[in-house]
Symmetry: C2
Subunit: 191 residues, 2 copies
């Protein structure tokens, strides 16, 4: 991707995140870049191309962050690191994460299918981490893996609405992780 | 509100949830209702009026559901009931909950301020439930109340993306609640 193309995609992500995909026109993108619309069309074919690029780059960033979690660790540490990785992507690429999480619904046809397949694959990878942790005896044998996965994804996906770009994503992730791992019961009421 | 007005608001909620606020025109709303646009204008002044009505009704529904949680219960049971109440509103009013959670950003000026104030008040009420449970010794004295509140709200707010209208909201809420309350550690790794 050329530097100019990259700049266009970043600006599109910023506008889609701020105003929504439907609330942004290609004229807005051109104006924000100080370009004329015909020059913009020299680089891209349609607004949906930009959405697709941002959504796909978001999916790649989340998968790549998960790829970087070391296999050598305990299964529980890998869940912690996966949450750290996810929130780090949200903080570092807040616009792209917002589009990935909220605006993908405007994708149509084959692209929508491909996007949803990538998202399901990501969710399956998170589920596998929990299943693995149970199988190794690191988490409760009676753990409700589906609910644990959904709770992880809720915390991870909702973060685009409140996490700031300058947040310490590791610290935020660890606060969530410790709470989910240890629970909230008072010592007096523990079984 | 007249029956016709109510019907218009419901249809607007459905379209805003499906296509986004910016992706929906008043002509779309009129068409979906089999009305002509001038007749629609007889009932409403602008598209933002409809968004405001849906968002405000959503806020009222979430607050009212929380109001209905009995004071007589334990603080922990009130947290469980608050989550049940929230998810029941999401399931019963999926369109309004989607607009409340995702589309409110298109509100401007005074209405946006009012909406955000209602949302902050809701979040403060959830925080109070956790604080109260800690003070009564029902939850750990070292509980990170802010993170617990945020985890509750993440699970509650993300639900509009996956909860179905025919879901058993009580069962879903209780699975989340039990996980958050008891944690996930294996008995062997418990402190």
């Amino acid at each position: 991707m050329s530097a100019r193309r990259d700049e266009i995609t970043r600006e599109a992500a910023r506008l889609f995140a701020a105003r929504g995909y439907h609330g942004t026109s290609l004229a807005d993108v051109a104006e924000a870049l100080g370009m004329r619309k015909p020059s913009l069309y020299h680089h891209i074919d349609s607004k949906e191309d930009l959405l697709w690029e941002v959504a796909r780059a978001g999916a790649e960033a989340f998968h790549a962050a998960l790829d970087a979690v070391p296999e050598s660790e305990s299964a529980t540490a890998r869940i912690r690191d996966a949450l750290r990785a996810h929130l780090a992507v949200v903080a570092a690429q807040l616009d792209a994460a917002t589009v990935f999480t909220r605006e993908w619904r405007s994708l149509g046809g084959e692209r929508r299918k491909q996007f949803l397949a990538e998202r399901r694959r990501y969710e399956a990878r998170i589920r596998d981490l929990f299943r693995d942790a149970v199988e190794r005896g690191e988490l409760r044998s009676d753990l409700d893996v589906d609910t644990a996965t959904l709770l992880f994804l809720s915390a991870a996906n909702w973060a685009y609405t409140w996490l700031r770009a300058d947040a310490d994503a590791v610290a935020v992730a660890d606060r969530f992780f410790n709470l989910i791992l240890d629970g909230m019961r008072g010592y007096a009421t523990r079984a």
